[in-house]
């Protein structure tokens, strides 16, 4: 087990600033997810922790020790790569065994450990196969087995589920969560999939342009996004963000009138999640427009209405039916969280 501390780390590629100066502490046994869109610096940050990328300035501390100059092999980490990084010329057994072999474990012990690990990830029947003879999910499990076979201090996982199909991803997500619970090893997980982040993380670090814009529990990030970017990034479907202005304690936009606790100002964005809106027949409801689209997701129907430039989505009952272009009204549920942001800076207001 280990605590990882990034102290004022910065990464530059020539003149390009990939990760601006910042600090981050990953607590012992924590499952921290680095979440952000492609190119936001999350993988670079993880690779710096792994030692696969030099840092331009700052310090990386693992278990209280500065590891800046230590090669990856001496950092007591294990990593699962996006493309698995398996050894194609070795069998599954040899792949899993390799880290133990490098650490000089006796052959008999290695054999037992490989068997135990393979059983844990249900690979025991495939030990003599080569990676090319395995499916994507099986390859992913080999990569996982190779990482957990020697119980390192830190797990690093770089989008390990991104190459799997949707169904397998959900299964593997649960397996990863269970594995973390079982082993309790500090884990840093990189993903651009907010659902993965929400379901797996103890804490999520949302990144944008190399910078961590919010670091908190998934619940807190969902409930209180720090800025407009996080608000739009977290949640599926994402939060409704409506451009407007506040006057006399009321937020106004085309077809939208919502009471808010904010002084008069222009350039305000109101945010409300689709699941916190009710579909109503009341013509005086807070949000009105014409029905633009109905999307049945199985357990619910996503109802999108439009009024001018404003487009608002609500999660309705699965049985909800109405004609496209018919008038439609939405009202915030009791206790719904209304978020207000500054359009220009993206900062949270109030």
């Amino acid at each position: 087990m280990a605590e990882v501390r990034l102290v004022d780390i910065e990464k530059r590629y020539g003149n390009f600033l990939a990760v601006p100066k910042q600090s981050l502490t990953i607590h012992d046994g924590e499952f921290l997810v680095l979440l952000g869109p492609s190119g936001c610096g999350k993988t670079t940050t993880m690779r710096m922790i792994a030692g696969l990328e030099d840092i331009t300035s700052g310090d990386i501390m693992i278990k209280g020790e500065r590891v800046n100059d230590k090669p990856p092999k001496d950092r007591d980490i294990a990593m699962v790569f996006q493309n698995y990084g398996l050894y194609p010329h070795m069998t599954v057994r040899q792949n899993i065994e390799y880290p133990l072999k490098l650490r000089g474990m006796p052959k008999a012990d290695r054999k037992d450990r490989v068997r135990e690990t393979a059983e844990k990830v249900e690979l025991d029947a495939l030990l003599e196969r080569r990676p090319s003879e395995l499916s994507g999910g099986q390859r992913q499990r080999v990569a996982l087995a190779r990482a957990i076979v020697r119980t390192p201090s830190i797990f690093l996982m770089d989008e390990p589920l991104s190459n799997l199909d949707a169904k397998l991803r959900v299964t593997m997500r649960a397996e990863l969560k269970h594995l973390h619970h079982e082993l309790g090893v500090t884990t840093v997980y990189v993903t651009h999939d907010q659902m993965e982040a929400m379901t797996l993380a103890s804490r999520v670090a949302v990144m944008r342009e190399g910078k961590i814009v919010q670091l908190d529990t998934p619940k807190k990030i969902y409930a209180e996004p720090a800025d407009l970017f996080v608000a739009g990034f977290i949640g599926s479907p994402s939060m409704n963000l409506i451009d407007g202005a506040v006057k006399g304690g009321v937020f106004r936009a085309d077809g939208v009138e919502v009471s808010v606790d904010l002084a008069d100002r222009d350039g305000v964005v109101l945010g409300i999640r689709p699941e916190e809106l009710d579909i109503t027949q009341d013509a005086k409801a807070a949000i009105s427009g014409k029905l633009y689209a109905l999307e049945l997701t199985g357990e619910s129907t996503l109802v999108t209405l439009r009024n001018g430039p404003s487009s608002v989505c609500a999660r309705g009952h699965a049985d909800f039916e109405a004609d496209i272009n018919s008038p439609c009204h939405l009202a915030p549920k009791d206790g719904a969280r209304i978020h207000l942001f500054d359009r220009a800076t993206g900062e949270r207001l109030g």
């Binding site: 792994a50 030692g51 696969l52 090669p71 990856p72 092999k73 980490i77 294990a78 990593m79 790569f81 996006q82 493309n83 698995y84 990084g85 398996l86 050894y87 194609p88 010329h89 390799y98 880290p99 490098l102 650490r103 090319s132 990569a143 190779r146 690093l156």
Partner: protein
């Protein structure tokens, strides 16, 4: 009809090209089994003999020592050039060092110099060092000729290998050299095998430097062929028998290389 004509034309052209390419080789193989009196005849009907092969291995021709020289020079050259080139190719492929591209160009540029331009300096140098007519001199020269080519070839194969597996091995606990030994070399093996065979063929067939730098002790097979031009005229049947001795190993390697070359080209392409 038009397609059939095109097809026939294409086939005819292929047959013609094959005849042009294969005729000298077929002629050499046939002549190697002919008696001296039949050597100039184009007839396919003759009394075959193995006497030419016996003659070329006996005095004064002694092809055996030339075969030995060629085998030693080619094998040692490959044994030194390929491991060195593999390490150099790995470095060029993986390390982002300043001036890397220029250095790589510099190494390749040695191949642009015509051999005949540098053969004299090499001759003077080896004469000064007392190394004329030695296998070591030929090995050194051949290393200078083939190593840049092999570096370039192996680099292509290593470039095609994704770095994920290497990084995974480094995290698993391997040093850089261990990564090369355990991961890179096995993955690049088909490419390295192909490069080795090419390297062997180049050295095996090298003529100009061997001609100038050897006299008696270090004469290789291609140079040995010249000795069949005598005062009695060109001994075509013996030259052909020696030619067969030079060509057969290369033919066998070419058969081998065909399989490995295709494997080598696709080895790194798939994740």
């Amino acid at each position: 009809m038009k397609r059939n004509l095109a097809y026939l034309g294409e086939r005819a052209l292929l047959v013609l090209i094959s005849i042009v390419v294969l005729f000298p080789i077929a002629w050499m193989f046939l002549t190697a089994f002919k008696q001296p009196r039949d050597a100039y005849s184009l007839s396919l009907i003759f009394e075959p003999t193995l006497q030419n092969f016996i003659t070329v291995f006996s005095d004064p021709w002694n092809l055996g020592s030339m075969v030995m020289n060629s085998v030693i020079v080619a094998t040692v050259t490959v044994a030194i050039a390929v491991p060195c080139a593999a390490l150099a190719a790995y470095s060029f492929s993986r390390f982002r060092v300043k001036g890397r591209k220029f250095l790589f160009f510099l190494i390749l540029s040695t191949q642009f110099i015509p051999a005949v331009v540098i053969v004299l300096p090499f001759f003077l140098m080896f004469r000064q060092l007392g190394m004329l007519d030695t296998r070591l001199a030929l090995i050194i020269v051949n290393l200078a000729i083939v190593t840049p080519f092999v570096i370039w070839m192996i680099k292509g194969f290593i470039d095609a290998i994704p770095t994920d597996s290497e990084e995974a091995a480094m995290i698993d606990g391997a040093s850089r050299l261990r990564v090369i030994k355990d991961i890179v070399l096995p993955m690049a093996a088909p490419g390295i095998m192909t490069s080795s065979i090419f390297c062997f063929i180049l050295t095996w067939n090298e003529f100009l430097f061997a001609l100038i730098l050897s006299r008696r002790d270090a004469v290789t097979l291609p140079v040995g062929l010249v000795s069949f031009r005598t005062e009695r005229g060109d001994l075509w049947e013996l030259m052909s028998a020696a030619g067969v001795m030079i060509t057969v190993p290369i033919f066998i390697m070419a058969l081998f290389i065909q399989k490995h070359f295709t494997r080598g080209m696709t080895a790194g392409a798939v994740k």
